[in-house]
Amino acid sequence: MSEEISLMKGNEAIAHAAIRYGVDGYFGYPITPQSEIIETLMEMAPWKTTGMVVLQAESEVAAINMVYGGAACGKYAMTSSSSPGISLKQEGVSYMAGAELPCLIVNVQRGGPGLGTIQPSQADYFQTVKGGGHGDYRLITLAPNSVQEMADFVALGFDLAFKYRNPAMILTDGVIGQMMERVKLPGFRRRRTDQEIREQCPWATLGKTPDREPNIITSLELDSALMEKNNERFQAKYRVVEENEVLYEEVKCDDADYLLVAFGSAARICLKAIEMAREEGIKAGLLRPITLWPFPGKILHGYAGKVKGMLTVELNAGQMVEDVRLAANGKVPVEHYGRLGGIVPTPDGVLDALKEKVVK
């Protein structure tokens, strides 16, 4: 079947895109505001069509470890959750980074800390791009700002995850997950056969054939000298990702005096804010990181030499602003504007903050 245009929620788009991409297994646990992902999958019953397995696990911990088991077989395995559930998954994320397993995790963020609120937030930025689980690892992180990108990043996330044998995350929030927009769904791809997986993923545990040694998926190495080598290999891989996979969008940046920096839903609000700013004669532009790791630090460093000031807009108390400041390296003032606890900023609020904190 071919591409299809539809109107749906961001969460539903993730589910449709997963089936169409040829995902082998989804394992999840209900939590607001992302339960439509598993509900849509159960409704669609892809096990009857593509053969995709959909399983409601007993916990977030079990779900991410099911993803580990599936990923270790070279299968396209994914899970989704929201902030408190993603905290529970961090064990599995760290193990998969250590065992170099590719998978896709979706975090439809809600406000924290703790049980917090079910309203949207971007307060898991630190957790996602600075670690989350234990050990020196990195998580490929994609931040969609539309229902279309929710659908598109399923494919992008899996492609990057398998290219680098590393977990990937779609870091989105309750705004993008719940809002309905027009979306062009991709065509259906056939799920890979075991033989194709054996060829594409020679490391996969599909059963030992006589022509090879046993495949062992593990993150364990008690010999420190060898474990350091493993870590050096991971770090070398991360540098390649940082060199090659940075994605970002520039809006009206060419002549901008002031730069808004925002991702996901905050970037959507900033689009309106820069329009309003320009109506008042303030030349504002928007730099939207699409990959949060790898972070577009170099491009921001370039802008730091051109603009008079930067303002990050986030649904948190100031997290990405630290990376923007590192990139600017003192060349230009970088301020932050954010709303907390599930409150979504308005374009007026952003414009006021721009004028008050940056333009002056």
Binding site: V61, M66, V67, G69, G92, L206, I216
Partner: protein, 253 residues
């Protein structure tokens, strides 16, 4: 006379299982793990399942199980082996999938994963080594530690009033409709090893036949953790462990 003059097919009554490799085992002399590994290797060979088997190793003494048997393995996080096995078997339904877990892994940190995999009737085999102690970390109290048993975290003996009694996971699991085999065995005598081989074979056959979850609990010794000679540990197990964890089938359908 050279040893090779004796070891010829007509005289051969015993051999190392073909699936076991040359890696030196890290297990303590006298430990039950080595025997159970050997039995698993023999059964996989007998059923001709080497190309179809995926083993899931635990965290605990058997964390390195994957080093000794020439099959594909996944190393799980502590207690999560049944979750991994669930996904593997569902994504590869024609494979034989088994977990190998100790009492800390299965009966403490992985209780939820174990019970829910069994309740769903996942077509997997669970080999459960119960020696009543945390061996790998140096002999701490386990959920299966006997009443008044001395460990490094119960130096005055396990007080069941404050720490609970020895948890009978197999009895709980046997109640679940998804479970087709719940049996308790041991490997302290040649006869017991034979019985264990029979039950592990049945568990692996159940996995292939899609009959549900099979749990084979091997009541085992940890002579190092128990601070006994291997022989004394075997005797202590018979006298003290067997009354709490009686050998035999709780369920076999």
């Amino acid at each position: 006379m050279n040893v090779n003059d004796i070891v010829n097919p007509e005289n051969l009554v015993y051999a190392k299982p073909a699936l076991m490799n040359e890696n030196h085992m890290h297990y303590c002399p006298g430990c039950s793990h080595g025997v159970v590994h050997k039995v698993i290797a023999e059964v996989i060979k007998e059923l001709d399942l080497q190309e179809k088997t995926i083993g899931i190793a635990p965290v605990g003494c058997a964390v390195f199980a994957y080093k000794y048997l020439n099959i594909d393995w996944q190393e799980a996080a502590h207690g999560r082996a049944p979750a991994l096995a669930t996904a593997v078997k569902r994504l590869l339904p024609d494979r034989m999938v088994f977990t190998y877990q100790g009492d800390g892994d299965l009966a403490a940190i992985g209780t939820a994963e174990t019970i829910h995999a069994a309740n769903r009737g996942e077509n997997i085999a669970i080999i459960f080594i119960n020696n009543g102690i945390y061996g790998m970390t140096g002999g701490q109290m386990a959920p299966t530690t006997l009443s008044n048993m001395v460990t490094s975290t119960s130096p005055d003996g396990r007080n069941v009033k404050t720490t609970g009694g020895p948890l009978k996971m197999l009895n709980m699991l046997a109640l679940l409709d998804g479970v087709c085999l719940a049996t308790r065995v041991s490997v302290h005598t040649a006869t017991a090893v034979k019985k264990t081989r029979r039950m592990i074979k049945l568990a692996f056959e159940n996995s292939m036949a899609g009959k549900g979850t099979s749990i084979v609990e091997v009541v085992s010794t940890c002579n190092a953790g128990w601070k006994m000679t291997p022989e004394a540990a075997n005797n202590w197990m018979v006298e003290n462990m067997f009354p709490v964890f009686p050998i035999g089938d709780l369920k076999n359908i």
